[in-house]
């Protein structure tokens, strides 16, 4: 598994980055969403390579399944009429590149200069240990996330609901 995962990392990484660039650069929103699905699937593959199988399946269920469908629905509900033609190469887009380059440079310098105590053999625990960690030590935040989701669902319905005509 180790030799395979170190060999498979680079093609998957290239795929993820290429899909991410396509998400930003496609003019057609549907194409952008499809590239985003490819990117999420690549991230799920990275999770498998990092021995996080449960997270990989959650990633596929949540991102590749649910969030992508939600975004595709939103694209179809908000069909643009003649917009989206000169959306990309405006002034702000060129100003964004140096800003992002500076942020990336700082992060790369931090990564390069930090000292890691990385283990050679340690790896993510299996699903059983993860579940016991999640439901014993982190049970309260876990329940809190469900509350956040409930509030978000109610808020989303309230925002997207059609106004009643009086």
């Amino acid at each position: 598994m180790n030799e395979f995962s170190s060999a498979a990392f680079y093609p998957v990484a290239v795929m993820v980055l290429a899909a991410a660039v396509l998400v930003v650069s496609f003019k057609n929103l549907i194409y952008s969403a499809l590239a985003m699905i490819a990117c999420f699937a690549g991230v799920a593959a990275l999770f498998v390579l990092l021995h996080a199988e449960l997270l990989a399946s959650a990633q596929i269920l949540l991102y590749v399944g649910a969030i992508s469908i939600l975004i595709l629905f939103a694209i179809m509900l908000t069909r643009n009429r003649g917009g989206e033609v000169k959306l990309f190469f405006h002034q702000q887009a060129w100003m964004a590149i140096p800003v992002v380059a500076i942020v990336g440079l700082i992060l790369i310098i931090v990564i390069g200069s930090a000292h890691y105590n990385a283990a050679d053999t340690a790896q993510n625990p299996g699903t059983k240990d993860l579940a016991s960690m999640l439901f014993n030590q982190y049970a309260f935040p876990f329940e809190l996330v469900s509350l956040v989701l409930l509030v978000a669902i109610v808020g989303a319905i309230l925002l997207a609901k059609k106004e009643k005509i009086k």
């Binding site: 170190s6 939600l70 917009g83 959306l87 992002v100 999640l134 989701l149 669902i153």
Partner: protein, 102 residues
């Protein structure tokens, strides 16, 4: 074994591409998609740290579960704001939302 730094470099690259999209694109749905890319980049970094951790492997994975939950909530609210905005003015450009400009 792939060194930890390579995973972190990938995470930085993905984060920067997402930030570029958030700053450069003006359609609110694309902005939400690029925000998701940034969240995914952070998830990759967390899982990589968790995998290479000597102290408590797996703690980063637990954190990623919470990030997933909050990301789902954020997408739902963001897209419904987009739909409400479209219903109001049939446009989705972020920079047209300037009523509250002082």
């Amino acid at each position: 074994m792939t060194p930890l730094q390579h995973y972190l470099a990938l995470s930085v690259a993905l984060f920067c591409i997402g930030a570029w999209g958030v700053l450069a694109r003006r359609n609110i749905i694309v902005v939400v998609m690029c925000l998701e890319l940034m969240l995914n980049a952070v998830n990759v970094a967390l899982v990589a740290f968790s995998n290479y951790s000597q102290v408590i492997p797996g703690r980063g994975e637990v954190f990623v579960f919470f990030v997933l939950g909050v990301a789902a909530a954020e997408v739902a609210v963001g897209l419904s704001i987009g739909i409400a905005m479209y219903r109001l003015r049939e446009r989705l450009k972020v920079d047209e939302l300037d009523e509250m400009k002082g």
